[in-house]
Symmetry: C2
Subunit: 122 residues, 2 copies
């Protein structure tokens, strides 16, 4: 049983597993920190507790970011996209977002080397 607002629940377009993608962004710098997944209950907890909470597909359990690491994500704003299958969660990230210790999950693997003499915009 989820406690998610029925008006919001009606707008979600879920995967076969009942999930929507959640793009997580640092609210002030605009850094994209990670991609997580939420079901209705995780979204409800995110909205009501003010801490970003996900459904872990690998562990099959709810996961309030920072419970073990201390790297809490305080929710500033949540938006739903035009077709209802992706959330944009703007947060204030405490410490590193990535389990590797990197600030974001996208720091380590750049697929596009900048052409010679053209600094990347990253």
């Amino acid at each position: 049983m989820t406690t998610l607002d029925p008006d919001i629940a009606a707008r979600l377009k879920r995967t076969d597993d009942g999930l929507v993608a959640a793009v997580v962004q640092q609210h002030d710098t605009g850094e994209v920190l990670m991609l997580g997944w939420m079901d209705d209950e995780a979204l409800s907890r995110t909205l009501t507790t003010g801490r970003a909470t996900y459904w872990s597909r690998s562990r099959q359990e709810y996961w309030a970011k920072g419970d073990t690491s201390g790297h809490v994500q305080w929710v500033k704003e949540v938006r739903l996209d035009c077709d209802g299958d992706t959330l944009l969660v703007k947060v204030d990230q405490v410490g590193a977002a990535c389990h590797t210790g990197d600030r974001t999950c996208f720091d380590a693997d750049l697929l596009t080397p900048a052409p010679d003499g053209q600094p990347s915009d990253g």
Copy 2:
């Protein structure tokens, strides 16, 4: 047959449908524009043509953003996340990213009204 660099292909962790998620961000403002999906071929085309190209799950075809709308996404940088299932594609978006005409797919549906007196950080 995909032309994707085998070193990159080896690092991808795909869905059962052979896809990875692509978070698309305006390179200079940091706006998150949309979430798309890419298979190996779409990623290869994105990297080699410099135009963001997706696999359309609804139409089951490749889709070079802007082909019909003119709203092209010029690729500035592509990154892969720590577990290989999500790309961050930084682009220069021509016009609107969203098919509704909005600048981003997240403009229209805010789930978190800011508490009284606390302006949102959006």
